[in-house]
Symmetry: C2
Amino acid sequence: MKRLFLAVTAVAGLAMSLPAAAQFQKPEDAIKYRQSAFQVMSAHFGRIGAMANGRVPFDAKVAQDNMAIVTVVHKLPFTAFGEGTDKGLPQRAKPEVWKEAAKFKAAGEKMQAEVAKLDAAVKAGNLDAIKAAFGAAGGSCKACHDDFRAEKYSSN
Amino acid sequence: MKRLFLAVTAVAGLAMSLPAAAQFQKPEDAIKYRQSAFQVMSAHFGRIGAMANGRVPFDAKVAQDNMAIVTVVHKLPFTAFGEGTDKGLPQRAKPEVWKEAAKFKAAGEKMQAEVAKLDAAVKAGNLDAIKAAFGAAGGSCKACHDDFRAEKYSSN
């Protein structure tokens, strides 16, 4: 069943500083967009993590280049959780994203605050600070996933 | 059949200035990443296009905010067309991406050059210049799609 797609985000406060928030023609577009933005974010966050966890040698310049991408993309997904985007494509967003919108918004803001701290540590080039900040930022991802991301994709 | 995945891009020249190019564990990761980066790029490019084409009122600040995202993400997909990433997930990349690597690289560079011109026009806030530069940038997308993007997704 098609629903009316309201071009209003459930997390308007979070998205307020973002350009043309929720400019999606169809729910499918919003779902694809947020999944894509999370994907890109995760790839670059992971490259910083590989250094933080000692899997690859620390290179301050590489960390900064990856962090610059994380900084740009990490807010983008939250512009695309508008009402009516709970259906349209297979996805892992739980109904709680919309049912507990205030809690979801807070979880997103927590992540953004931790990413800002990680950015400061990366800019300072201090590996110990990066390790600590990466752990906290990763924890904020996990906390949100635990509450708002399902194990499996929905069927539509 | 699984192939050895070489962590070397077919378009190394294009990706040279990018952070940790081709740091993908599996071909699937690279495919998902490049599809995601194109998706995010396209959404924000489209928002500038909506203004260039008069579908929404021109707002210089909104154009600049969207352009800042395009500028960061438009080079990312080209870090993820490494050898061996022609299989692994359904995708629209034609075999020509790897068979005609030099031509593909040139097409990517053409797009990057046009995006740089669009960025200049957007920064200047000149709608006529934006219209012209958007048309040329869109044309560079289309030219590459015509040669290197299939109509339908592959089956794997």
